[in-house]
């Protein structure tokens, strides 16, 4: 093996040797530098390989003396990994900056090379003063690189940087020299062993060293200078600072922290968490792309710092967590900065330009998701292990801080992603493609997946099947340029194959999973069939749709919480992309994502706490929890309830469902929401039997009832057909939540019946209305009307859908209502039950409004020639109608297996079957009989009417009695707008958007705090220096008190 010291030889020697190369041969100079970095990378890489394959770490001594007499360097696994990372990003960064470096000449190239070399040394060195020297090397080189692209701003940023690092270096030097005085050594290991913190002066010296290192990591709020550097320097340089420097300095803190006493872990943890939360909070208000990346970088470093500070609680997981999160940050942030350089747009709203080359958008999305910690990226596993470990250690505040910080980061990153996906890009210029800039980004983009997959294989408990189906996604993306029918067929075949493999076995073994798999996959196939109606390419639809279905399938087959969470996040990501495809979906996609992230973090915290209770991540072990049930159950329930859009957490739903595409709305409404239901069921099966859970169940019951009421009332006052259905979904999910919360046999039967029914009729309604909307080109019901003449197929579908939804016998909706009554009386939830019943009647208001305003009443001028809904929509719709009909005619076919299933958890007390006659504890009901009776009666009466009015003359729409006048315009004759005005006067106050206001106020607060808070960064370098000094003092006084 080549001694790692030769990294210095190559780096410095190369830099000096470059002086000989002709100043004219600029490309040669730069290429030589890249060769030098590659050689350095080869050395570190070979060490990494060696150490990973079981080699021993090596200590390099200089001058032929052992430490402390001379300087020594360590090449261990960490060092090898980090130097490899640094050299790799250095190499790619060099390629990226090729043009700039070439232009700036050989001196700049030398600076670049020395910069990378210096970072290598500060990772490896074990001598405090040597560390100081090379930190100075790096900071001067950084200042030089900032000057690489010389603008007024970059010079200012550079000067601020020099001022801040000047102070920091001075403090560090002071600390080092006193540490030497008190301990007699400059070697870090000796300093640690000397335990000089025991004396006051020594403690101050250690404080100075550590606080200087912390300051190098840009802690909040003493980091204004760093943000300026990120913003103003060349993106390629910023990428290096963010990826390489940060990595190196983080490791420095990592190795030097041992000189401090145990308190220091706390201080660094707190500093880190404040940084993580603080800078992400201030980032919320930022709209300059690179500065925002700076905020994010600083935040991520804060998280890493916090992780280091939490070392005492993380035990042997520390390195895994730190490395996964560090690597994610390293790859994603470098990639993002590079992207920023390629597209050259300052304002984040202009990042829509990415859509000119969709592959960039994919890369951007990848990096954003990797930063937030979505699977399959490494940070997902890091955060998972972090939360689990913290929970086991009882560090609840730390969990809260970390999750809040991550959430705040999610706000701006997803807003940004939303801008990129949705805003208009036609006015923006073309992207200039320079291959040397694109290749590094692409390599990092691929690498982040590879490393994520590798990390996944290192996790215990994660089945390889968890990422197998994900391979469909790149495949579908690869064929994205094909036409819709081909892709649709492939997608359907994919889902169908999966369904065919999974479903038959499940029916015997696990009814619950069978039902939900059926809803997810068969529902998926049916909604995908509607996709044939689309023309053109529909770019990007199929990968994300499949992503959602894969996520759903993973949730079902998860056997432990890790797999479950993995699937949950995959599903969230897929559904986010699906939702945001709608024309006006940008804000709704964002709010969906934010609620989803918040929910996911609640889940994560819940899973973490449950892990702390049982030390097992098996889902079945949830039932073994004996203490903390209230908090765990609540957290998990809240997490699932964000998906089921319970009251308070529902505001994302109406917009998201309403603005989504016609065949996406049923996917997200009829199918996706059931994931939350499934989660709640899993949770309650495991934990529902404890008295604490029963108490929460009581609360959930009320919540469900009120959700149902408010959802239906709000639906009745909508003018937008899809929004109406979306509110209806909220209330239906309220029913289901209510029924689940009863935690009794009948309650769960009700919930299951509602789930199945809601899937059937909401899919029908959303598909039909979506298809109608596709034809008429508006969501607003008052702009439609009288379409029954043009769209009889759609009308019949909606009619059956609303009859089923309203629960009117003889259709299947009644099964749910009947069970519901028995269940309510059984558990004695009379008032909640009455509220739910009330809301059930209110459903008539909006159902009538829906069918009347769209299909009945007056046909409008411009809709006279619209055609019936596309056959590709009709096929799934009528398939589902067939399902409703079968369920209605033979409810026992569905209900009996359901009863057997629910009996596993809640023994059957009263419900018995005699053929088609169900007898509950309170009542009885013969679904088949009612169907036949009503059918015969209906036919007889229809026959009678047809007989007596056989000669009726068919007239047209204005042939109505109109106070002796004739209507003049269909628009003025169609009663639709504000249809339930009287009702609104009486009960409208119930649906005053208090909750939306609440969340709006919260958002405003966050933005206001961010707005006023970030004025801390006044832009004056001197002020920043003051912050730095004040920060040092703050840490000092914190330490002594």
């Amino acid at each position: 093996m080549i001694s790692p010291i030769h990294i210095i030889t190559i780096g410095l020697g190369g830099a000096f040797a470059l002086g000989f190369v002709s100043k004219k041969a600029k490309a040669l100079t730069t290429s030589l530098m890249l060769v030098a970095i590659a050689l350095m990378g080869t050395i570190s890489g070979s060490w990494l390989f060696e150490l990973l394959s079981g080699g021993t770490e090596t200590m390099v001594y200089t001058a032929g003396f052992k430490p402390p007499y001379s300087i020594n360097l360590l090449m261990g696994l960490n060092e090898a990994l980090l130097t490899t990372m640094i050299n790799f990003v250095g190499l790619l960064g060099g390629i990226y900056l090729f043009g700039n470096l070439k232009k700036a000449g050989s001196h700049a190239v030398m600076v670049f090379l020395v910069f990378i070399m210096g970072l290598n040394v500060i990772v490896m060195t074990r001598d405090a003063f040597n560390l100081f020297v090379f930190m100075e090397v790096v900071s001067i080189a950084t200042a030089g690189l900032i000057l690489l692209t010389e603008t007024g701003k970059s010079v200012q940023a550079g000067f601020k940087y020099m001022m801040a690092t000047g102070i920091v270096a001075g403090i560090f030097l002071l600390g080092v020299i006193f540490a030497y005085y008190f301990s007699g050594s400059l070697n870090i290991d000796d300093l640690a062993a000397a335990n000089i913190t025991a004396i006051k002066g020594g403690a101050v010296a250690v404080m100075m060293i550590l606080v200087a290192l912390v300051l190098e990591l840009k802690p909040f709020p003493a980091n204004g200078w760093a943000l300026d550097v990120y913003e103003a320097s060349d993106p390629g340089v910023a990428a290096l600072i963010s990826a390489a420097s940060a990595t190196a300095f983080y490791y420095v803190l990592f190795k030097v922290i041992s000189i401090g006493n145990a308190d220091w872990y706390n201080i660094i943890a707190i500093a880190g968490m404040i940084t993580f939360v603080g800078s992400n909070l201030f980032g919320v208000k930022q709209d300059k792309a690179r500065r925002l990346l700076g905020y994010s970088s600083v935040g991520q470093l804060g998280l890493l710092m916090a992780i280091l500070g939490l070392k005492p609680y993380l035990g042997d997981k520390l390195e895994f967590i730190a490395i996964t999160i560090l690597v994610s940050h390293y790859l994603a942030k470098a990639g993002l900065f590079w992207l920023a350089g390629i597209i050259e747009q300052e304002n984040i709203k202009d990042w829509a330009i990415l859509r000119r080359k969709p592959i960039f958008l994919v890369l951007f999305g990848t990096f954003v998701f990797a930063l937030i910690g979505f699977p399959p990226f490494p940070s997902f596993y890091g955060k998972w292990e972090l939360i689990l470990a913290l929970s086991s250690a009882g560090q609840y505040y730390a969990i809260a801080f970390i999750l809040i910080g991550s959430f705040l980061e999610g706000i701006y990153l997803f807003r940004w992603l939303g801008y990129a996906i949705k805003l208009d890009y036609t006015k923006l210029p073309e992207i200039k493609i320079e291959w040397n800039k694109v290749i590094p980004v692409a390599i990092f983009g691929v690498l982040i997946y590879v490393i994520g997959a590798y990390t996944g294989t290192q996790m215990s408990g994660l089945d390889s099947l968890c990422y197998g189906p994900l391979l469909m996604i790149p495949f579908l993306y690869a064929i994205d340029s094909l036409k819709v029918p081909i892709k649709n067929t492939i997608a359907i075949l994919g889902v169908a194959t999966f369904a065919a493999r999974v479903l038959p076995g499940l029916y015997e073994t696990d009814m619950l999973r069978f039902i939900f798999t059926f809803i997810f996959l068969v529902g998926g196939i049916l909604t995908l069939i509607a996709g044939y109606a689309y023309k053109g390419k529909r770019e990007g639809f199929y990968p994300v749709a499949l992503l959602m279905f894969v996520g759903l399938a993973l949730i079902i087959r998860a056997s432990n919480t890790l797999e479950f969470f993995y699937g949950w996040e995959i599903m969230t990501a897929g559904s986010y992309f699906l939702i945001i495809r709608g024309k006006k979906s940008m804000p709704h996609g964002l709010s969906y994502m934010l609620f989803s992230i918040a929910g996911a973090y609640a889940l994560l915290a819940g899973f973490g706490l449950s892990f702390a209770e049982t030390p097992s991540i098996e889902i079945s072990s949830l039932s073994a929890i004996t203490s903390n049930i209230t908090i765990i159950f609540s957290l998990l329930a809240i997490g699932f309830m964000t998906k089921t859009a319970s009251l308070g957490l529902h505001i994302w739903l109406p917009g998201a469902h309403a603005e989504a595409e016609s065949d996406v709305s049923p996917m997200v409404s009829a199918i996706l929401l059931k994931a939350g239901v499934f989660g709640l069921m899993i949770l309650m099966i495991a934990m529902g039997h404890s008295p604490e859970a029963t108490n929460i169940g009581y609360v959930l019951g009320w919540l469900g009832a009120i959700t149902a009421l408010v959802g239906n009332l709000a639906a009745a006052f909508q003018e937008d057909a899809k929004r109406l259905l979306a509110y209806s979904s909220i209330s239906q999910l309220g029913y289901i939540l209510f029924a689940l919360a009863m935690m009794s046999h009948l309650g769960w039967m009700t919930a299951m019946v509602y789930s199945i029914n809601h899937f059937l009729y909401k899919a029908i309604l959303f598909l039909t209305i979506g298809a109608v909307v596709m034809r008429v080109g508006t969501h607003y019901m008052y702009k439609m009307g009288g379409l029954i003449k043009n769209m009889p197929m759609a009308f019949v579908a909606v009619m059956i859908g609303i009859i089923a939804l309203s629960g009117v016998p003889p259709l299947s909706g009644f099964a749910g209502k009947w069970l519901f009554y028995n269940a309510v009386l059984d558990v004695q939830w009379y008032f909640q039950g009455a509220i739910v019943f009330f809301s059930g009647i209110i459903a008539f208001l909006y159902l009538f409004k829906l069918i009347y305003s769209v299909f009945l009443g007056q046909l409008k001028d411009n809709l006279r020639h619209v055609k019936d809904i596309s056959i590709w929509f009709a096929i799934p719709i009528y398939t589902l109608i067939l399902g409703i009909m079968i369920f209605s005619a033979k409810p026992e076919w569905v209900l009996q297996p359901l009863g057997d299933m629910v009996s596993q958890w809640y023994p059957n007390s009263a419900l018995s079957w005699d053929g088609g006659l169900a007898t509950g504890p309170y009542g009885y009901w013969n679904g088949t009989g009612v169907m036949i009776t009503v059918g015969i009666m209906f036919m007889a009466l229809l026959g009678w009417l047809l007989l007596v009015s056989r000669k009726a003359v068919k007239v047209k729409q204005f042939n109505i009695v109109y106070s002796a006048e004739a209507p003049q315009r269909p628009e003025t004759t169609h009663v639709s707008y504000n249809m339930f005005a009287g009702y609104n006067k009486a009960l409208g106050w119930l649906v005053a958007p208090k909750i939306t206001e609440f969340w709006d106020t919260m958002t405003d607060w966050v933005h206001s705090v961010a707005h006023y808070g970030r004025q801390l960064y006044s832009g004056n370098g001197q002020v920043y220096v003051t912050y730095v000094v004040a920060y040092i003092l703050a840490i000092y006084f914190t330490m002594i008190f």
Binding site: V133, V155, Q156, F178, Y180, D228, Q286, Q1015, V1025
Partner: protein
């Protein structure tokens, strides 16, 4: 003697900080940094001092055999050399920045360079 040096060093450090934090002229701020560095160097030398001893150069007055008892600590002296050179590099670079800043806005008032903020 060493106490005096240390005290003076600390005071110079604080004076440097004062200059850095209050002077508005960039050149003065850079001078402040130099003062700050100088203070550090004084402190380093003060720490190296051993009462009544001489410089760590072995010549006729300092016998090789008894050097341990005759010289002051050479390490901080070596360090201070390095620190001075580093300080020189930093100062040179800062001056470059100062020059460029002046070229940009024709002023050296640090308060005028607030284009980057928030």
């Amino acid at each position: 003697m060493e106490y005096v040096a240390l005290t003076v060093g600390f005071i110079v450090i604080m004076a440097g900080l004062w200059a850095i934090m209050t002077r508005k002229n960039i050149i003065r701020i850079i001078i402040g940094f130099s003062i700050f560095d100088t203070g550090l160097h004084i402190v380093m030398v003060a720490l190296a001092y051993v009462k009544g001893r001489t410089a760590p150069i072995l010549d006729n007055t300092v016998a090789l055999d008894d050097a341990v008892n005759l010289i002051v600590d050479p390490v901080p002296q070596a360090l201070v050399l390095t620190a001075i050179v580093i300080g020189l590099g930093v100062t040179a670079l800062m001056l470059i920045f100062a020059m460029k800043l002046h070229r940009e806005k024709k002023t050296l008032d640090i308060r005028s360079f607030k284009d980057l903020k928030w």
